[in-house]
Structure formats: C-alpha cells, structure tokens
C-alpha cells in the first residue's frame, strides 16, 4: 500500500438543493462501524456549488474528514462531472471502501465510477459488515424480487463499492461539537461529449396518487370502516406514512372506495413493505391479494378474525380509536 495513503472509508454525501439526503447520514453511521473494525477513518465526499455550510452536519453525524469539491459544474447533479470528481478523489486517496445511498443519484453515479475505476459494485445493500477474521467487506442484498438474500465480496479490487438502501441503517445521534479536517479539492471540469445539458428541472407534485401496486406502504380498510368517512382516517394515516389507501372488496362493493384500490383475487395483488389492514376480517379472496406483503399489521375488534393468522402484528381493538392516535404518534416521530 502507498505509504502516503491513509486507509479510509469513503461516504458519498449526497446533497440536493443544498440539503443533505437523509441516507447520507445513515451511511456515515455504518461507515463508522466499518472504520472501527478496519481501524481507519471515515471520509465524506461533498460535491456541489456553495455547499460549505453542509460540512458541519457531516462531522456531527460521524465523518472524520470531509473532502469538499465546489464548482458551478456541480451545482445540479449530472453524471459526468460527479463521476470525474469522485473517480479522481478515489485515485488520489485510494479508500478501501466507497459507499453511496441507493437513491436515483447514487444508483446512477456509482456504476459509472465503478466502470471508470474498474472495481466491483454491489447494489441496494441491506446489510454491510466486516468479517472478523478475514477483514473482508461483506455486502448483503436481496435478489430475485426479494425472494433471496445474497452476500457478496470483492476480494481483488479497491475500493469495494456499494450502494445502500435508504432506511436500513439507524443514524447516529448527532454531536454538534464534532469537528474534523476539511480538504478542499480543486479540479477542472472541461465539457466533453459525455456532459449532458440540463434544459429544465420539474418538481413532482406532492399529491400525485399512485397505483396501489407501486406503493411501498398501504393502509387498507374493509367493512369495519363502516362508511366512506371511515376511510378519511385511513387516508390521514397513509399520508403521514407516505403510503396509499387500499380497500377490501366489501368496501368497494359498498361504494366507499374506488375499484382501482381493491386488493384481492378480483382486485389487485400487492406486495408492499408495509400493509396495515384496518377493519378487514380477512376473506380468502382478500388475503390472496396481500399475503406476500413484507410486514402486515392488522387492527380489528374481532379477535377471531382470520386476518390475524397472517399478520405479523395483530392488534385487537377499535380502529376508530387506534388509527387517529397512531397517526398522531407517527407524525410526532417524523417531526
């Protein structure tokens, strides 16, 4: 190993509109764990234009050093200048590991860098670890549509690169007094044919209703919601969770919900990360459409309701009392 090189774990500190993407803080927490086992330091890479104000939070959440690269070419994310900057940093500092959030930026940028550097990249990891004896970097990710987990290593190339799914790592409690070295990284950005031009940026409308089959979180209601008004409290819960409302057939037949939101044999088959079944007894034909959900919470006043047989968490109780309080509690958590 090059004597001038200090072993390190690189963390891409993704920022959009001068705000650090939350997954970057999660990555810092994981990088600290990895760095402790490897006895090396955590280096955050911050790219943008006039983003120096974002350096301190990176220290607070666990970075030992920050490499700061500021240039108008980096103001908005574009593949080529970001690839150029980070590839150059990697070549200069030779980190052992480089991790990125599996965001739509991270998943665009990381493969381009891996291609340029010639190293291995593992996508969408849900667990990262250093094997005790060998010090190998073990990356675990789902494959086959989530049916299978695979653990992957990259023994002969460095840095070992990974993108990490947002939400799988718990952030550290920030230490506002933490500090560290800031390295200003100067680089020329010469436009070539690989540069794209941004003609426009269009923000998505927040209220866009999505197909329930695409939703990661579904809050579903059945006959137990007693009427269309009952679905309003479900909508509020779905909103704080960033999910969509779904329905059993009974509620659709009663005219309380759209057919497009119906889950089940005669409706849609869904497989969200979280399915909250409220006032749904669990007819066979409903369960056929949702039993593959990753995590199922059922709230029903009838303790013998069949839905409890497939729920990970079953709450016997009154949906009209529990759901509004749950919405409130989550809103506080999210604040």
């Amino acid at each position: 190993m090059d004597e001038n090189v200090v072993p390190s774990v690189f963390v891409f500190a993704e920022q959009v509109d001068n705000q650090i993407t939350p997954v970057s803080f999660e990555l810092l927490a994981k990088a600290r764990e990895l760095a402790a086992k490897l006895e090396c330091e955590v280096v955050a890479l911050l790219l943008g234009d006039k983003v120096e104000n974002l350096v301190q939070p990176l220290f607070s959440y666990g970075a030992n050093k920050v490499i700061l690269c500021e240039d108008p070419a980096l103001a908005q994310y574009r593949t080529e200048p970001y690839t150029h900057a980070i590839s150059t940093m990697i070549r200069q500092y030779k980190p052992q590991i480089a991790i990125f959030g599996a965001t739509s930026i991270g998943r665009d940028l990381a493969p381009r860098i891996a291609g340029r550097i010639h190293t291995g990249l593992t996508a969408d990891c849900t667990a990262l670890d250093i094997e005790d004896e060998t010090k190998r970097f073990m990356m675990t990710r789902p494959a086959f549509g989530g049916n299978l987990m695979a653990t992957i290593v990259c023994p002969e190339f460095q840095p070992v690169m990974a993108t990490v799914r947002p939400g799988v790592i718990v952030k550290r409690i920030p230490d506002p007094n933490a500090s560290g070295e800031v390295i200003r990284f100067e680089l020329d950005f010469v436009e070539n044919d690989c540069y794209t031009k941004i003609l426009d940026i269009i923000k998505k409308e927040a209220s866009t209703k999505h197909n329930i089959q695409d939703a990661k979180i579904l809050v579903a209601g059945g006959r137990g919601m007693k009427g269309p008004e009952g679905f309003e409290i479900l909508q509020e819960l779905a909103d704080v969770l960033g999910g969509e409302v779904a329905s059993s057939r009974a509620a659709v037949d009663a005219g309380w919900q759209d057919k497009a939101r119906q889950v089940g044999q005669t409706g849609k088959t869904v497989r969200p990360n979280l399915y909250i079944a409220c006032g749904i007894s669990g007819a066979i034909q409903h369960m056929a459409g949702m039993e593959e959900s990753d995590f199922i919470i059922a709230i029903n006043s009838d303790s013998t309701a069949p839905i409890f047989n497939i729920a990970d968490v079953g709450i016997v109780g009154d949906v009209f009392k529990i759901v509004p309080k749950l919405t409130e509690a989550i809103r506080k958590e999210r604040a």
């Binding site: 057939r249 044999q265 005669t266 066979i284 034909q285 056929a288």
Partner: protein
C-alpha cells in the same frame, strides 16, 4: 404423428394468455354483469392483429393458421366466454365465409377490413322458423335490376349490433328448397337494414345478440357471395369451421373453470384441512382434467385437418359435441366444489357455468352434431 406444438404456436399461446390476463380478465365480470359489449378489449384485439389470424398477409391477415386462431379463442375463453365468441363469430363465420367463397373484389373490399381489424363481422343464418332446420328460410331476396332486395328477419345473431359487415342468407328460389338459398354480403347502414331489441341471455351476456330486420333492403348484385342457389352449401361448410372455434371456446371455458377450482380447493379449508385433501375432490378434479385433455386433441385435430386442406366436417362436429359437453359438466362440477362460493358472482365459476351452456346450442346443437357424426357412420 406429432402432438408437440411448434415454437411459434407456443409463443402465440403465450401472447394470447398475456393478453387475456391483462386486457380480458379485468373486464370479464363487469361485461357479464352489465350485458355490455367489451369494446375496449375488442379495439385492442383489432389493433393487435387478432381479428385476422388465419388469413393470408396479402389479404390483410396475419398469415398464421387455424390452430393459432383456436389457441386465441381458447385462451380468451379461459377468462371470458363473451370475448371468445366475438372473435370466433367474426373470424370463422363472417370472415372465413368471404375468404372461402368471395371473389377477389369481394375479398379486397370486405375481407381485408375484417382481417386487418378495421371492421367487425357477423354471420346471419338463423330465423324464427329456421334454426336446426336451416332449409326453412323465410327471408327472401329478389333480383331487381342491378340490386337484390332483401326482406325478412334473422334472430339470435352474434355481433349483431356491433358488426360492420354481415354475411346473410336468404331464399332466392323458394321452390328449390335448400338449392334456393343464396348468400349475400350486407353492410351496416344499408337502407332497410335495422336491428331488433338485444336479447337478455343466460350467458355470454356481453356479446351483442339481437334480430336483424330487412325491409326492402337493397344491396348491389356484386354482394352475392358465391353463386346463386349455393348458399346452403356455403352456410354448412362455414359452420363446419365455426364449430372448431366453438369447440375451442368450450375447451377454454372448461380449462378456466378447472384452473380456478384447483386454486380454490387448495385454499378452502373445512374440517381443518384444505378440501383438496379429500378424495372426492381429487377424483372429481382428475376426471375433469382427463376430459379436458381428451377434448383438446379433438379440437386441435379438427384445426390441423382444416389447415391441411383435408375433410374435417365430422371431426369438427365431434370436437364441438364433446367439448361443449365437457364444458357444461366441468363448470357444473366446479361450482359444486366451490360450494356456496360457487353460487355467487365474484368467484367466476357460476358465470362460466352459464357461458358453457350455449356451446351445446349455437352453431348447431349437440343433436345436430350427432346427426353429422352418425350420418358419416351410416353413409
């Protein structure tokens, strides 16, 4: 003898299956419940080349064969009997009658738009007094200069209100019996051509079925299909081909009902175990499966004979007879295995049971099929 399907047939079957799952199944229940013609689906079938499967490319068709067409009807019928019969009546009755009997000009003018999906076809033989006894035609066509003048009423006509091009049979010489029947091509919108009220049917409720009424309806002499007096032969030979389509429809309905029932008996628990665990269930399923597979060979065989240019009239009759019987029996058993759930709408099998019944009746009843088969035995 080769029972293996070619790769192109396997891929076509997959295409029809995917289309059925995405475009047909979602509408099947509503089509039935509201007696509504599934226009959304039919438009997609038209734009995907499904309305001209067995006809040559140069006539606007897809250049495939009868077996491919049969696979389409079968796959669609697994989900919706209505959609299957729309395709069947269009293809093997209306379009094929013109393909087999039309002049080059008639094929260009009438077959091409049917085959390329711009127009929908219908076939009108049955009358109030002429069902199985097709020779009892009351509709008359009288030559008047460059035109034929049609008068009379057809009943129970599939694709009636929705079609654009109709093959219509009428008496041109009452004294000549079956040799006095001729076939004509009539376009929608021809003055004197109107429709009766839609029938309320037991099954295939989304298909448009009603009377065609001809009152001094004048059509050009060029619209005579085949020669004058040859209409009965045209009707009978066209129905031979149509029966392959109905056999495929019946086969598909039976398969669809069995697929749903197999899934159901694995889920449904009684006495603390899935009802699939009971020998009664297993034996009923086994019998249904064996019946369905035997019918498949009859239907495919009739299609292959037609494609090979060999006689297939008796084989088509046998295929339709057995397939329709199996469809009725299988759907009835499937409802029984579903118990109470089988009797309510959302489990689909009750619709399939209602849809299956018509396959024993239209394009020749089972009794007519037996006449065709015994006729060939006792010849």
């Amino acid at each position: 003898m080769d029972f293996n399907m070619s790769k192109e047939h396997l891929m076509a079957k997959q295409l029809f299956h995917d289309f059925a799952i995405n475009e047909i199944e979602p509408w099947a229940e509503e089509t039935d419940e509201n007696h509504r013609f599934p226009w959304e689906t039919v438009r997609k079938m038209q734009s995907t080349g499904f309305m001209g499967i067995p006809f040559p490319r140069e006539m606007g068709g897809q250049g495939c064969d009868t077996l491919t067409y049969v696979l389409a009807v079968e796959e669609f019928a697994k989900y919706c009997g209505t959609t299957a019969v729309i395709l069947s009546a269009h293809t093997s009755l209306a379009a094929d009658a013109i393909f087999q009997n039309g002049t080059p000009q008639q094929k260009e003018k009438f077959l091409r738009p049917l085959a390329d999906g711009t127009k929908l076809g219908s076939f009108a033989l049955t009358e109030p007094e002429a069902g199985t006894d097709a020779a009892g035609q009351q509709t008359k066509a009288v030559r008047d200069g460059d035109e034929w003048v049609l008068n009379g009423t057809k009943i129970f006509i599939t694709n009636a209100e929705v079609a654009d091009i109709y093959v219509v049979f009428a008496m041109t010489d009452k004294s000549a019996g079956t040799r006095g029947i001729s076939a004509f091509i009539v376009e929608k919108g021809t003055p004197g051509f109107s429709f009766g009220l839609p029938e309320k049917k037991m099954g295939i409720r989304g298909s448009s079925t009603c009377e065609l009424i001809f009152e001094n309806c004048r059509i050009p002499v060029n619209n005579l299909l085949g020669r004058e007096g040859k209409g009965f032969g045209i009707a009978m030979s066209t129905l031979d081909g149509g029966r392959i389509g109905i056999g495929a429809q019946a086969l598909g309905i039976a398969e669809g009902a069995l697929d749903r029932t197999v899934a159901y008996v694995k889920e449904r628990k009684q006495f603390n175990r899935p009802i699939a665990g009971f020998q009664n269930t297993q034996f009923v399923l086994a019998q249904m499966k064996a019946d369905i597979e035997s019918v498949r060979y009859l239907v495919y065989n009739a299609a292959l004979l037609k494609d090979a240019g060999k006689p297939y009239s008796v084989e088509a009759a046998m295929a339709k007879l057995k397939a329709s019987q199996v469809a009725s029996e299988v759907t009835r058993q499937c409802v029984q295995l579903h118990g109470g759930y089988g009797y309510i709408q959302s489990f689909q099998v009750e619709r399939m049971m209602r849809d299956a019944k018509i396959t024993e009746i239209y394009e020749g009843t089972s009794e007519v099929m037996k006449m065709v088969i015994s006729g060939s035995l006792l010849r």
